[in-house]
Amino acid sequence: MDAQMKRGFLDACVLATMASKESYGYQIIKDLPKMLEISESTFYPLLKRLEAKRLIQVRKAESNGRLRKYYSLTDQGHAELAAFMADKQEVVDIFRFVERSIDEAASSNGADPSTKSGARP
């Protein structure tokens, strides 16, 4: 997926992985959709950013004899996810618009191929 687009969706997907219950770094990475292909190097700054925006909160707990950081959504985080979903229709409309434009171009080219070649000297 295009990097710019991915970035917009990534925040929402990461938030979504902790929507139902708290989770930890490696688990979140495993839960994320495969097409986002995220590595720790992008993931860590992203978590820090979400934390700075107070969308997620961190708790330290012991697991397998060592400390692990568990992340969960704050109320603001839940609200952010809801806002993301509220935009869904608009995003779908945008895809529809692009799709329709491509289809129209294809059909008009197919119907009258002479226009293009005829314009050429």
Partner: protein
């Protein structure tokens, strides 16, 4: 690469971060490696599946720079469009030499103003540098003075004992007491001053190393957790004794002064050019009365 090597490399690359922030990132990466190993990866595989330390450090440092100054939350979709529209600032493009022709003309025409300003700024910077350098030298000279003062006091203490003997030979007990006080006080206080000088020197040298490390972008402390050296118990006993000597010396000098009926001359010792010496107000001939060779005449 082992996990330890990975973390060490990342530590080195994140040197410029505040300690707490760096430690947080390192903890995250340690946890990532450990979680993968719990999931059945070998240590090698776990490390290999992460981005290289350089990439990781780059992501942390660059994201830090852009996320720090904007605390207000914006929606996810907004963030994506915002960054697409962003254009590098004038200064960023100037650095890379990517200005528009019009901007170049502006830069050249306005050089009448900014060149003298730049020259002035360089002059001021040089001045500040010179002041800092001279302050730095001053600090060393001051530390040297502290060493010399402490050393001189400790050395003078035993030499001054000669005057106690001379005072006793003359039967001037208050004078002897006062000089015993001088000796004890000088030794006790001198030892403490030397201790302070050592501490100051260490502090300053430590500052040097820290600055040198910062310039070479190496982590501080250089050796793993350079543990603060505990002073040895013998030394702390020694310095306690010195403190007591200092107090006893003061008391002794005061006692001598009181015993003389508060005659200020008990504090005086002076050598005269005609071979006499003034001891607590009594002028005596040097060789006749005193069996000791003058150590310093």
């Amino acid at each position: 690469m082992t996990a330890e090597e990975y973390i060490a490399e990342l530590t080195r690359l994140l040197y410029s971060l505040p300690e707490q922030e760096r430690e947080e990132a390192l903890t995250f990466y340690r946890e990532s490696i450990a979680d993968r190993m719990d999931d059945g990866f070998t240590e090698e595989e776990a490390v290999a599946s992460l981005a290289s330390p350089a990439e990781a450090a780059c992501a942390i440092l660059s994201n830090r720079a852009e996320s720090a100054p904007e605390p207000q939350p914006g929606s996810v979709a907004e963030a994506a469009t915002e960054s697409a529209a962003a254009r590098p600032s004038f200064w960023a493009r100037l650095k890379r030499g990517q200005l528009t022709p019009l901007e170049w003309v502006g830069v050249i025409l306005s050089s009448v103003i900014w060149l003298p300003l730049l020259a002035a700024a360089i002059g001021v910077a040089a001045g500040v540098f010179a002041v800092i350098l001279s302050l730095y030298l001053c600090v060393w000279v001051l530390i040297g003075c502290v060493w010399i003062t402490g050393g001189a006091m400790v050395l003078a203490a035993p030499l001054n004992c000669v005057f106690i003997l001379w005072g006793l030979q003359l039967g001037n007990v208050p004078y002897a007491l006062v000089n015993a006080g001088y000796s004890l006080f000088a030794f006790g206080a001198g030892a403490w001053i030397l201790r302070g000088a050592l501490k100051l020197t260490k502090l300053f040298v430590r500052g040097h190393r820290k600055a040198a490390c910062a310039m070479r972008k190496q982590p501080w402390p250089p050796e793993a957790a350079s543990s603060p050296q505990q002073p040895r118990p013998e030394w702390s006993t020694f310095f306690t004794i010195c403190l007591i000597l200092l107090g006893v010396g003061l008391a002794s000098a005061l006692a001598g002064y009181a015993l003389s009926g508060f005659d200020w001359r008990v504090f005086l010792t002076s050598f005269n050019e005609n071979g006499t010496i003034l001891i607590g107000g009594t002028q005596v001939k040097l060789p006749g009365l005193i069996p000791f060779d003058m150590p310093f005449a």
